[in-house]
């Protein structure tokens, strides 16, 4: 125990003297978390809090264009600016970034709508034996012209056009019913019919998986993601530490001593696992205490499963330590360890969903992401922070991390043994 304690002291002294390593493990991830969260938070707010800017050129001579404009305005989704632009001008304005979207309502919008609904109601009534068809074919409903900024994602554009289409449908249906009532000798649609028609559709009852849990936001994603990234960046410090011991001859000296290399390796692991725990405490602490002061969402921890949180932190840290030891054992020089270590962690981060959540990745990348230990660390944090933190959800990522760590430890052992260092 005394030797173990002295080894831990030695590792501690080496660590605190490694200013570059400490910066990479504590300051760099904090900056990354701050910068990326601020950037993503702005984007998140833009989508969720800000309205979509829309230039509306209403040239309609009737009242339906105005009705559509009012409906879009009252939906709360669009910030509308009116003008009398021609379609080409509207297109140019959107292209120049004056607004994200533009809507051109032509002069004949109301007329075309009336004609179309009249023809349609005639046809329906004739089919029902309540009137005679005029024999004309349907002239078609006419159109509005929609413009969007090229930077808008396709699914986002689709959502906007669907909103416009929904409002158009309401106008069309109301117009058609009015026409039918007129043709049946009723001057106006009865109020209860109109109310029922506008509000009586099938309701969508929405339940979010995060309903009773912290709301997903940029902090909830970025803080665990970049903390995991930082943990794995200990490869620079720990990998170098091991390479220097191998290359400098310390391992050989230790082999000639009445001691065991296992003590040395174990003490390294204990110290660096604690470093991982400290990283989490430091970054999570900043995200919990300081983020609200910076106008960022506060990190909400999974209070329901504190043991789970501890285990996830320890297992993530142990995985990072095992990976770093493996690279340190394999690398012959500090340059190899640092270069390969840094690049491999960046690749693991990229495919593991640290930068972009893995659910938005193409299928093959999603499969590939399962090879990244960072993915499973992040998954276990997601289970804690966004999915209630139940043990059933934690079991899979934790098992995978354990297997990954044991493989790394085994490879380190075999390599050190082959090099006759242990």
């Amino acid at each position: 125990m005394y030797k173990f304690w002295e080894s831990i002291k030695k590792e501690y002294y080496l660590l605190v003297n490694d200013k570059t390593g400490l910066t990479l493990m504590f300051i760099m991830p904090l900056l990354l978390v701050l910068i990326v969260t601020v950037i993503q938070d702005s984007a998140f707010r833009m989508v969720n809090d800000n309205m979509i800017s829309m230039l509306v050129a209403n040239h309609d001579k009737g009242d339906k264009g105005e009705e559509l404009e009012k409906m879009l305005g009252s939906s709360g989704m669009f910030g509308i600016t009116n003008g009398t632009w021609a379609p080409e001008e509207l297109n140019e304005l959107v292209r120049n970034g004056e607004a994200l979207t533009g809507l051109y309502i032509p002069e004949s919008f109301s007329d075309e709508l009336s004609t179309n609904t009249e023809q349609l109601s005639n046809l329906i009534l004739a089919n029902m034996g309540l009137g005679e068809s005029d024999g004309n074919s349907l002239s078609g409903p006419g159109s509005v012209i929609f413009f969007n900024d090229a930077a808008l994602q396709e699914n986002y554009v689709l959502s906007i056009t669907n909103v416009i289409r929904t409002h158009l449908s309401v106008i069309e249906v109301r117009q058609m019913l009015g026409t039918m009532y007129n043709q049946l000798g009723v001057e106006e649609i009865p109020e209860e019919v109109e109310t029922a028609m506008l509000s009586g559709g099938i309701q969508i009852q929405r339940y979010s998986s995060a309903e009773t849990l912290p709301t997903p936001n940029s902090t909830q994603h970025n803080v665990p993601a970049w903390t995991v990234f930082a943990m794995f960046f200990m490869v620079i410090s720990l990998g170098t530490n091991l390479v220097l011991e191998k290359a400098g001859g310390s391992f050989l000296r230790l082999k000639a001593m009445p001691s065991s290399i296992a003590i040395v390796m174990l003490s390294k692991q204990v110290v660096y696992v604690l470093v991982g725990v400290l990283q989490v405490s430091f970054i999570f602490g900043i995200a919990w205490l300081v983020f609200p002061w910076l106008g960022l969402p506060r990190l909400t921890l999974a209070e329901s499963n504190v043991t789970g949180l501890l285990l996830v932190v320890l297992m993530s840290s142990f995985s990072a330590v095992s990976y770093s030891l493996m690279l340190g054992a394999i690398a012959r020089t500090q340059e190899q360890s640092n270069g390969f270590g840094a690049i491999s962690v960046i690749i693991f981060a990229a495919i593991g969903g640290i930068w972009v959540p893995s659910f938005v990745m193409p299928e093959f990348l999603r499969l590939l992401s399962q090879l990244s230990p960072l993915h499973w660390c992040l998954e276990s944090f997601y289970v804690l922070f966004l999915r209630g933190g139940d043990w059933a959800g934690l079991a899979k990522p934790l098992y995978i991390l354990l297997i990954f760590s044991l493989i790394c430890q085994f490879i380190s052992y075999v390599k050190l043994r082959r090099d006759q260092l242990i």
Partner: protein, 250 residues
């Protein structure tokens, strides 16, 4: 001659993947209190033999027995009795001299106060007292070599293996180290030594063994070997026995 310290019997070593033996049936006896030197060209097998004797490397065939006071030492106790001063500066550059020695002392099962007392003594003897709390990174080559020596001697071993202990040091450091080694030998510590500084070897060693191609090709006291081979010094002896060709280990 005093009691037997190390008995090396038919020791052979072949590295994994190598096409030849690095040591071939080496037989040698080293006695307590001796200052014994291994010499030979690069790649002759000196470091391999020292590594085997320090239990750093396993060997393929043969037997090595350690004795203390004519009694064989248990296998697991050997490492406590030996000191190893490797050719590489096996020190932690980001630790201070004192932190390095405290750590190595602990690995030799020394209690903290024992390490403290002994290290103060050794720092003083080897001129490192004033810099004991400085990081090794800031040391000169000579200072590092002296600290390397202290790390191998902190636990007062019965025998010390010195693999090129003075390589690359200034004359003052070398002089201090050699005087110190003579002093501890006078107190009973056996020295097993290898170096390319043959003048230094002549100053230190009582007996030497010349190794080449994994064989001990000659062994005995220096005057005896010089007389038998009709040469004036160890350099002449080595050239005569191992030839003039370069040994570049390619």
């Amino acid at each position: 001659m005093t009691d037997l310290l190390i008995d090396i019997e038919n020791v052979s070593k072949k590295y994994t993947g190598a096409d030849r033996y690095s040591l071939k049936s080496v037989n040698l006896k080293i006695y307590e209190g001796e200052k014994f030197g291994f010499f030979g060209p690069n790649g002759a097998g000196k470091t391999t033999l020292i590594s085997i004797l320090c239990q750093i490397l396993p060997f393929n065939e043969g037997k090595v027995t350690y004795y203390l006071g004519s009694k064989p030492i248990e296998f697991h106790s050997i490492r406590q009795k030996i000191g190893f001063v490797p050719q590489d500066l096996a020190l932690y550059e980001d630790l201070t001299a004192r932190q390095n020695i405290s750590y190595f002392g602990a690995m030799y099962n020394m209690k903290p106060n024992e390490v403290r007392k002994r290290s103060v003594e050794l720092f003083e003897l080897l001129g490192l007292s004033a810099v004991a709390d400085r990081k090794v990174r800031t040391f000169s080559g000579g200072m590092k070599r002296r600290l390397n020596l202290i790390a191998g001697l902190i636990h007062e071993p019965a025998v010390v293996f010195l693999d090129e202990p003075t390589v690359g040091v200034d004359i003052q450091s070398r002089n201090a180290m050699l005087s110190f080694l003579k002093e501890i030998n006078g107190k009973g510590t056996s020295l097993i030594y290898t170096s390319h500084h043959l003048d230094e070897a002549e100053r230190i060693c009582d007996r030497v063994a010349i190794i080449d191609h994994g064989d001990i090709i000659a062994s005995g006291s220096i005057p005896q070997l010089l007389g038998e081979n009709d040469v004036e010094d160890l350099t002449g002896l080595l050239i005569k026995l191992t030839g003039k060709e370069f040994r570049d280990n390619v």
